[in-house]
């Protein structure tokens, strides 16, 4: 008889426990230090060296020096931190968030202001 009741205690216990589900988005998730989310750029600091573009394993980042733009395609990005590692001025950072769904797969383009470089020079 006991071998058909092995699950009994577990089931009864969880009947009186709080459920394990978290009702996202009503309840915000807990992020750890390393939780991945979305690559963000500090546009004031970027020097358009395009190292991130070269090193990105999936080609998600696109740097255009002439147009002074930095673009990331979140749908290609695999959040591997490679760009964060290689950036010489540490202007890239991981922003912790759950990305919202989008209708079209498009790149997010950031314009890098010219004055930052001038000020440095």
């Amino acid at each position: 008889m006991s071998d058909i009741l092995k699950m009994f205690t577990t089931v009864i216990k969880s009947l009186f426990k709080k459920s394990t589900c978290r009702q996202y988005p009503f309840k915000k998730p807990v992020f750890f230090d390393r939780t991945k989310g979305h690559i963000q750029i500090d546009r004031e600091r970027c020097i358009l060296c395009s190292l991130c573009d070269k090193r990105c394993p999936t080609g998600a980042i696109n740097v255009d020096r002439n147009a002074r733009t930095w673009a990331i395609n979140s749908y290609k990005c695999i959040l591997c931190f490679r760009c964060v590692e290689v950036c010489p001025v540490t202007c890239l950072a991981m922003q912790q968030q759950y990305s919202a769904p989008e209708e079209i797969k498009k790149s997010e383009v950031v314009e890098i202001p010219a004055k930052a470089e001038k000020a440095k020079a």
Binding site: I4, M7, V11, I12, S14, K17, S19, C21
Partner: protein
Amino acid sequence: MNAWIWGIVGILLTPVVAGLVGGIDRVITAKMQGRMGPPVLQPFYDVMKLFSKQNLVLNRFHHDLVICSLIFTVAAVGLLFAGENLLMCIFALVVGNVFLVLAAYSTNSPYSMLGADRELLQMLAAEPMILLAAVGIYMATGTFDINLIASGTHSAIQYLPGVFFGLIYVLTIKLRKSPFDLSTSHHAHQELVKGLSTEFAGPSLALFEIIHWYETVFVMALIYLFFASRPIVGIVAVLIVYFLEILIDNINARVKWDLMLASAWVITLIFGLGNLMLLFILK
């Protein structure tokens, strides 16, 4: 005249009650599994959504057979509430079930056909016990007439504890719960996809759900008849039995058909027939 009104009230109330019971069932099941679960009204949302979908009818008979099944199952519940003959109600339910099997056979899909095979096996396993229960109630109260059974002064349960136990055992088959949800379960991910109801879509599937609601109420009413002289005890007993079924559902895997058939018949023989024999000798 009164009987007619009772019957109609029963037919109209059944979907509401069974839907609510189904919703509570799902919440309790979710709790047992450590989940949040859907809202209590989810079964109604499901059925309403299914009705709004396109009806994919495979052939001429398919949908009609489901409607026939619905008519007989509804009639069975109606007759039960109208206080007619218990045996007649049970046979009406069986006919409804058979129509469902025919609908599944008519589709020509292997999963559906195997599901129908198993549904027949399930009926073979469950029906003897249900019939014995009816006979038992007759022996205890002296009548098949539900009106008289319900207004009697003696509860059948005191003569029929064995039959009652056997009935609870086969109830798992009738309610399509683990370990005996072989022909079609509440989850569409068993070995036969959804077995019996694989090929039902949209409104047909909604009707299938509604048929199941009526079946649920029917077997619950059958349980109630054992306690008919004391309504409060009866309702409490029904609730306890239903909770037990949820519990059994959650602590068992699905078994194979041979074990189901063998165990159901052994239980029927020992507890059902044994109880009746004793009753026959002692009375």
